[in-house]
């Protein structure tokens, strides 16, 4: 700190220090599990899985879809749907402002991206959560896009794969967000009636209203390693039962042990795994 910054009032100094921090963003990343310093481009090529310790970091919706689908024949579904603040909800900030902020930070209109495409030649629809958009919370747009995803599957007679990463329902949309749980679950009944496969891939974290609706209604449940999956958050449970939770509680491996999911699969193997499962469910030759 030089003599000039020392002279400045603290308030201004703090601002300048955050500015300094945000400048060299992006070239290097630190694994939040093993603390290894990783070259960002390498990490992205490795699908945001730490090459040193295999820790699965959270991955953006587009990056997820991009790495999962074949490059050709992709069509986005429901991208014209935009959120509105019908309740004029205001907490410490206005919901409208929170939306704008999230849109600016992520480049997405809302927390779910839906894409029709192929995985190893198998046509399907993929729905993928953007956790950075308000914690992947489910509001009306997420619900409606999920329903459009299902409807596309029905029209084209193709399966659905959903990658969930969400804190739950979006409180700023109040009861409308709760109703998205019923809406999305109802849509899945149509898929089921048509015997179209639905694979739910649970990623870190899948909690609350998303976990207690479509994420837990798959024909097959796949979880990424060590993902937090559950209904109530660990802190809420700890406050209720007043004891520390067992090691690994609500993690993928714990859910596998308890019979809630079918398998834990490394992100880098998901394409092969999903393509193989779908080809068997649909009686097509292995992709």
């Amino acid at each position: 700190m030089n003599w000039f910054t020392k002279l400045l009032p603290t308030r201004i100094r703090t601002e300048s220090s955050t500015e300094r921090k945000s400048v060299p963003e992006g070239l290097w990343s630190k694994c939040n599990s093993c603390s290894a310093v990783l070259y960002r481009a390498d990490l992205e090529r490795n699908l945001d899985v730490c090459p040193k310790c295999d820790h699965h970091m959270r991955i953006g919706a587009r990056h997820r879809i991009d790495s999962f689908l074949d490059p050709e024949d992709r069509v986005e579904v429901g991208s014209n749907l935009k959120p509105v603040d019908a309740l004029k909800f205001r907490d410490l900030k206005k919901y409208k402002d929170r939306l704008l902020q999230a849109q600016k930070a992520t480049g997405e209109d809302d927390a779910l991206v839906v894409m029709k495409g192929k995985v190893k030649g198998v046509p399907l629809v993929v729905a993928s959560f953007e956790f950075k958009f308000m914690g992947g919370s489910m509001g009306s747009v997420v619900g409606e896009r999920f329903v459009r995803a299902v409807n596309t599957c029905l029209e084209e007679n193709i399966p659905l794969v959903c990658f969930s990463a969400s804190g739950g329902a979006r409180m700023q949309e109040a009861l409308f967000s709760l109703m998205q749980m019923a809406k999305t679950s109802a849509a899945l009944t149509k898929l089921s009636q048509r015997h179209l496969p639905y694979i739910s891939v649970l990623t870190d974290p899948t909690m609350g209203g998303v976990s207690a609706s479509f994420a837990m209604l798959g024909d097959i449940h796949i979880a990424e390693p060590n993902a937090l999956i559950g209904f109530a958050g660990p802190r809420v449970i700890e406050q209720t039962v007043r004891e520390t939770l067992p090691e690994g509680f609500q993690r993928s491996e714990f859910l596998l042990e308890r019979g809630a999911i079918d398998m834990v699969v490394d992100r880098r193997d998901l394409r092969d795994k999903v393509a193989n499962l779908l080809s068997m469910m649909q009686h097509t030759t292995a992709a």
Binding site: F89, A169, K183, T189
Partner: protein, 318 residues
């Protein structure tokens, strides 16, 4: 009767105390003070009316959780005949936070399922404060499917702070249990009427609340998260619960405006606990009327309408 007045009812409480006092004096005195008592009673009624016309969301939330508020089983004995309670999920346990079984309404057989809070401490613990565990939702699911099988209309009654956030509940798949109910209810081939009688707390409430018609008692609430929970997350302080309640608009009247609720059932002046019999009568009338309408619809029409009702929930632009 000790009415257990809430903080915002204090002026009414004071007036009622005065009336009690006068009555006491009146009974061992020759002086006729009945006129004065009548005058004060009218005043008390007017005061109650004026307080209850301008209730804030947080005050309604207090009423919804009033310790004397009628619970599901108080309504069962007043509305239905021949109730046969059915127990257990056939896999793990009988969750007493959810009560269900067959009964008759005006002679017609139906299936009823509802959350039950406890009245005294012992019962509260036994009922887990009306917070169901997965086995409770799975018992409900079993009864729903039985309702479908025997063509019994399904009436559900919501009154829960939420699904129980416990270690065992998570281990046994709370999320899956709730999700499964949403899935099955949205295609169940029998009419479903849900009534929020007290607290409609989040996914734990919705898990027995996917329906053809949603009814709400005048002073009940229905929300995605408790006001306290919402305040502690969004306002970073549970003390802002009143603001959160207002912002979420969790009251019956507000939700009716938003077209999320079909019918608001009137409660007696001062709330359901002031006159449980009248409240039950109002509820029975509303249930019968709704049921009569739904039963005129053929099943495929009913399911079609239920589906489009679910699909239209939400606000967005395109």
């Amino acid at each position: 009767m000790n009415l257990n007045f809430l903080d915002f009812e204090q002026p009414i409480a004071e007036l009622e105390a005065k009336i009690e006092e006068l009555r006491y004096v009146g009974s061992d005195n020759e002086i006729n003070i009945s006129e004065e008592i009548t005058r004060l009673q009218t005043k008390s009624r007017d005061l109650t009316r004026s307080i209850f016309t301008g209730l804030k969301a947080a005050q309604v939330a207090q009423l919804a959780r009033h310790p004397q508020r009628p619970y599901f089983m108080d309504y069962i004995e007043r509305i239905f005949e021949d109730f046969e309670e059915l127990h257990g999920d056939r896999a793990y346990a009988d969750d007493k936070a959810i009560v269900g079984g067959m009964a008759r309404i005006d002679g017609k057989p139906i299936m009823i399922i509802g959350q039950q809070k406890g009245r005294d401490t012992k019962e509260k613990v036994q009922r887990n404060f009306g917070m169901p565990r997965p086995e409770g939702y799975r018992k409900a699911l079993r009864l729903m499917e039985m309702a479908e099988k025997f063509k019994l209309p399904l009436l559900t009654f919501i009154d829960t702070p939420g699904a129980y956030p416990g270690v065992g509940a998570e281990e046994r798949g709370q999320s899956e249990a709730i999700a499964r109910n949403l899935f099955v209810m949205s295609k169940l081939q029998t009419p479903i009427i849900s009534t929020v009688i007290g607290e409609g707390g989040s996914g734990g409430a919705l898990a027995i609340g996917v329906c053809d018609r949603l009814l709400m008692m005048q002073y009940s609430t229905y929300s995605v998260i408790s006001p306290e929970g919402c305040a502690s997350i969004l306002w970073k302080s549970a003390e802002k619960a009143a603001e959160a309640a207002e912002a979420m608009g969790l009251t019956a009247d507000r939700l009716k405006e938003l077209e999320l609720v079909d019918t608001v059932i009137e409660e007696p002046l001062g709330g359901a606990h002031r006159d449980v019999d009248i409240t039950a009568q109002n509820m029975k009338a509303a249930l019968l009327q709704t049921l009569e309408h739904l039963q005129t619809l053929p099943t495929d029409k009913l399911l079609e309408q239920r589906y489009s009702r679910l699909m239209q929930f939400g606000n967005y632009t395109e």
